[in-house]
Amino acid sequence: MGRRPGRRRRASLKTGRQRVTKGSLIAAGFIVSILAGVFSYFLPAIQVALRDTGQVNTSLGGNPQLRPVSANENLSSSAPFNLLLLGSDSDAKFKGDYLTQSMILTRIDPATKRVTMLSIPRDLWVRLCNGSSGKIDQAFLHGGAQCAIQTVENDLKVHVDYYAWIGLQGLVSVLNDVGGVNVIANNPVMDDYYPADLSGGNPFDYQRILVLPGAQHMNGTLALEYVRARHDDAYGDFARSQRQQQILIALRAKTRHLSLVDIPNLATSLGADFQTNMSIVRVSGLLPIAGSVPLAAITQVVLLPPYTSSVHVNSQDALRPNWSLIRPEVAKFFGATT
């Protein structure tokens, strides 16, 4: 005669199930708690990523220039791509109407670890995205990153996959966050009329600056002075462009030490002074590549004469582009548009 399961056994089974359920709930609670901790750590970076890809349109203080531009998401992680780096004097005297004092078209080939940087002179006289003619630094003023990209694409006959815009304070912050950069300053960089627009006083004031020559460590402020000064320089904006590329190369060396966990801190300090349409996955994927690019694999291009020539147009000093020379070079280094 078999025995019917007794009440005690049923109770035991029930208790066992309860224990499993309770244990599962506790384990889930721990997992959720840990995930919450991880999520809260990456929250600043996630917010930036959402904002930058346009999923949350905060427009950074309502400035239409800084609205995100959607990116080409079809690129594989190993495919070469063109990145347009934009830098603006984002201090108080511009009241949000930013020009791009710096435009550097960069081609990054993750597979071959080769990088090419082309500085586009801010005074280049071109046809802007809205059909008018003007200096290329005004494209951003007219239509933000979208117009800057369109203008570069139309005039240089090149495709831009991504862009990244950074303001003055953002550059200082990111350089300080990585602990500064080591640079060999080419010559004494002096300027008695350097804008004193980051000190919080009158943004139209001047200050004197001097960057000594030779190998040295630069913090964010010193590096900004180095890349921004231009008045006492035989080559003015061209020399400044070369120094900007130099700082980017020095910054690349610093990214060797960075990893995914450094991104939230960078995102927090960049704040509203940075905008890109690259996803956080793309950015974090670039960090190890940037750090491993050897100096010899970096090509620097500056559009000195005969690529450009000085011209006075509409009462402005500008640079006339020699497209017949520029476009073949751009096609060679950055690929031609189809």
Binding site: S40, G214, Q216, L304
Partner: protein, 350 residues
Amino acid sequence: VRRTLVLFAIMALCGLAANRSLAALQTRNTAGSLVDTTSPQIRLPGTIFVSQDGAIYAIAGTGVRRLPLPSGGEWIQPRALSDGTLLVIRRFNQYSDLYHVTTSGRVLARMSAGDQSIRNKTLQLDHWVLWPVVSPDGSSVYFATDSPKPAPGQSYEVDFSLWAAPLSVPLTIGGTGVGGGIRWSFPDRYTGGDIEPVPLPDGNLLYASYANTGKGTVVSVLGLQTGPGSAMVALTTPAQDCGAPAVAADGVTIAMVCTNRGQTASIEVATLVGTALSGAHVVVANCLCNSPSWSPSGDSLLYMNASDPDGNFGLWYIAKAGSAHPGAAKRVTDAGVNLDATSSAAWMTR
């Protein structure tokens, strides 16, 4: 209920721990202070003065001490005098001045007044004075200053030229030159000009001169002048892009930093024969190095080099650097210490 609350608290702590663990993995970018991490890696005779974070430090034997100079500005570019005192530059945001100080940090004299804008509120009237060095006979001080320069509002031009003046008299640097001083060089405009003077025992002047190539670049050459205002003889080529000259006690062995217009540098040693360099050879290759200076005896070389993994600039030493078989480069300061790479070390025998 209490058990449940404890459990929730432990869960919350786990979340916090996960958050802080990630934060702990962040890259740290901190450079140590010379005094806090005192313990030179090698013991050198005499006293070596270096600049870090705007202060002057003395390294003697196995100890390091900070000179208690007045606060304000940055104290840079120490130079040893034969009487056991120092010339030092005190640099502020808009100007700099030359000071004569003791090795215990007492100011003996302020030798220039670059802050002209204090009186007239026009900051372009301020001046830089940098790279001081005393002549071999001890009577004159040579230096670079951004005087003369155009009146405020007239031009953006501001370049260094080289001057000499009696060491016993305060410098009067104005918009048109240095009162009582002798102007040695006339810089190539808008290049940064002429810097780092080194008066030689034969009365000639060696220095780094920046020049516009006319091809989109500004480069540095080592220049030699036989008298104030005389034509400069280039000792190196524009392609070598050499600067930061340092002359050993023999007056002819020269150390210099050359970049070959690249993003790394080398330290080369050569012999000055008449108005030409000969026997140049590399003693430190492919480095982020700057500011060589010789030992008082002239056989050992000090320089700044960013070779530790964090990229901090330390003080390095090479014995017998002027010989055909220089010693191995050795770091003097601890790893992690970040010195002012644009200030060469001053080495005193005592």
